[in-house]
């Protein structure tokens, strides 16, 4: 019923459009039935795949009441998981921020050999399954891996400990910032930077005063996406985590454990926290998009 009401709202402008001369609008106009059907399909799809799961997460989370909901976060294993997720994001996002900006800067403002190869490399984490991303680190740093025996001798733990989780997360979230900036900076070109240099600015001044202000919204957007993925990553982290309760479980892993322990309400409570993060990210993203649009002439 709700869906119907919304669709009819959206069709309101039709009479106005129909009043205009037919010839000018004819190529753009679909019949009302087609428009109604398309809108209904889109809304039904949205409701089924986005809204409904969100509703399920929150209603399952709250099924045992608000007191139980909040006690799910107070549990030591849950607080440890939340802390680890925040720590991981706090390391991975800044590292990828610095990397993304430098890579985009190098790629868009300079000409050099192997540039397209570098772009392909940056995209690699997107095209590779997260499980492989995790396994790579086990094969590198695991006891049977290339560096494993040396690491064990020197008592340095990478996989099945926090450093491995951070590394895997950095790897998986590595393209977000760079990918966001490259098209933006390509579009802007190098004219403003060249002007700055001619006027006597140093490289650092040029970056800080000219380039950065131009890209700041795009940069924020990339950081936002990077952060969302860093907190939500499951596959790669699962492979390198070792699943030690209260020590190497991030929030997504903790959710799986709770679910497997028949603790559904608690699992969905922690899941709702991640869903909340997604919602906040979405809202922030829309606000940023609004800013980006407004800046364009």
């Amino acid at each position: 019923m709700l869906v119907e009401a919304q669709t009819s709202d959206m069709l309101l402008p039709i009479p106005v459009a129909a009043a205009r001369p037919q010839a000018a609008l004819a190529p753009r106009e679909e019949s009302p039935a087609v428009r109604l059907a398309l809108t209904a399909v889109a809304l039904a799809f949205l409701g089924l795949f986005i809204v409904l799961p969100l509703v399920v997460v929150f209603s399952e989370a709250l099924q045992k009441g608000a007191a139980f909901y909040f006690s799910a976060f107070a549990e030591p294993a849950a607080t440890a998981a939340i802390r680890l997720t925040l720590l991981t994001a706090a390391i991975a996002v800044p590292v990828n921020l610095v990397f993304g900006v430098t890579a985009a800067w190098a790629i868009t403002k300079f000409e050099f050999r192997g540039k397209s190869f570098l772009i392909t490399l940056i995209d690699l984490p997107f095209s590779v399954s997260p499980v492989i991303s995790g396994l790579v680190f086990v094969l590198l740093f695991g006891l049977q891996g290339w560096l494993g025996p040396w690491l064990a001798e020197n008592d340095i733990k990478i996989v099945f400990a926090v450093p491995g989780i951070v590394l895997a997360t950095i790897f998986v979230t590595f393209p977000f910032v760079a990918r966001e900036l490259i098209p933006l900076m390509q579009e802007q070109g190098t004219a403003e930077e060249e002007a700055a240099i001619v006027l006597g600015a140093s490289g650092w001044q040029t970056f800080w005063r000219v380039t950065l202000p131009n890209i700041k919204w795009g940069l924020l957007y990339g950081v936002l996406l990077c952060n969302a993925r860093a907190m939500g990553e499951f596959g790669a982290v699962s492979v390198v985590s070792g699943h030690i309760r209260g020590l190497t479980n991030t929030m997504p892993l903790h959710i799986e454990i709770l679910y497997n322990e028949y603790n559904f309400a608690a699992a969905f409570a922690v899941a709702s926290l991640l869903a909340l993060l997604a919602l906040v990210t979405l809202v922030a993203k829309s606000l940023l998009e609004l800013r980006l649009d407004r800046r364009k002439p």
Partner: protein
């Protein structure tokens, strides 16, 4: 065209912050190595070790005054063994079957005679394979030979990745072998027919439980006895019941100390005490209460009602032990690979 980039003090502070955060992460993982034990276990033992760890920590503090933290890691037995081989620093492993610990021993992480180090083949508790069916047993499943009837849907995990599933497979094989006129060919046919009735193979026991119980797929779930009890008590006595077959396998989930790790971390004494604690009446009571069959006769007697007497055969007498059964049946290209074709 742009000259060298010099780090401003801002950026330097930021970089320093990042580096110290990384260093902190490293330090955090080093500090945790004080008086903590890491027990790497398989899927269905979560509740069991929660109770056991609490009891042992209390007992150990009374005896030595030392405060102990026991960390747990759970997952499919095969992948857990793999993680230990790859460097997950477990002081003790408590897995689903001896072969998984053998695999760790092969890499030199623990002594090859580990199974003789504790009583009862180093398996302080046992279990067996039973059937979980829907309430009222609508398909009338009483024994193994009811499973091969047409139209019966069986849920069991993948024996390649799940320890419990290997016990399921061997129990079915042993049953067919022990029927009048049973031989290897007949057993093979019987097991082939069983797997023909399996619509989905999950990777671990807990996954299969969820498939059967939550998603409502299948008529019968071949399950660890402990897992079946747990599913009933957690998710509804009014929805499921347990059917005990006429014959099943004695599943012995073993425990042992990982020598290399315990010696390196200096935790051997407490790790050994931890496992020996299993053989006390208190711990055996914990096992029974978590639906694992205890070894001690007095505790067994107390819980006789819960655990019906089943004729049980061991893997040693029917298959010549895991060292033989594993390569024959579950290795790449082994019997399971030959008989299993995914459902169309």
């Amino acid at each position: 065209m742009i000259r060298s980039i010099i780090l401003s003090s801002d950026r330097r502070r930021f970089l320093f912050g990042t580096l110290s955060a990384v260093a902190l992460a490293f330090a955090a993982s080093a500090v945790s190595a004080q008086t903590t034990l890491l027990n790497v276990s398989y899927d269905p033992t979560r509740e069991l070790y929660q109770a056991f760890n609490a009891a042992f920590v209390k007992d150990w503090q009374q005896k030595t005054g030392q405060k102990l933290t026991i960390q747990q890691s759970h997952g499919g037995a095969g992948s857990q063994a793999r993680a230990v081989i790859d460097g997950l620093e477990a002081d003790v492993v408590t897995l689903a079957l001896a072969y998984d610990i053998d695999a760790i021993a092969e890499r030199g992480l623990l002594s090859c005679d580990w199974q003789a180090r504790l009583p009862n083949n180093s398996s302080p508790y046992t279990s067996t394979i039973v059937f979980l069916v829907r309430k009222g047993n609508p398909k009338g499943i009483k024994d193994w030979n009811d499973l091969v009837k047409p139209g019966i849907k069986i849920i069991t995990p993948n024996p390649k990745t799940s320890g419990g599933a290997r016990w399921n497979y061997l129990a079915a094989w042993g049953y067919a072998l022990k029927q009048p006129g049973g031989d290897e060919t007949k057993a093979r046919d019987f097991v082939t027919q069983i797997y023909r009735n399996v619509p989905v193979l999950d990777s671990g026991a807990r996954g299969s439980t969820t498939t059967f119980v939550q998603r409502g797929i299948g008529d019968v779930f071949l399950s660890w006895e402990n897992e079946a009890f747990l599913a009933i008590n957690e998710l509804g006595k009014d929805k499921f019941e347990i059917v005990v077959p006429s014959l099943s396998i004695l599943a012995e989930p073993p425990v042992t100390v990982v020598d290399k790790v315990a010696d390196k971390k200096g935790t051997r004494a407490v790790a050994e005490a931890y496992l020996k604690y299993w053989y006390t009446p208190e711990a055996q009571e914990i096992a029974a209460r978590n639906y694992y069959r205890p070894r001690l006769a007095e505790v067994q007697a107390r819980h006789a009602e819960q655990f019906p007497t089943v004729k049980l055969f061991t893997i040693d007498e029917v298959f010549g032990g895991w060292a033989k059964a594993q390569p024959t049946h579950f290795a790449e290209g082994g019997v399971f690979d030959q008989i299993y074709k995914p459902a169309r």
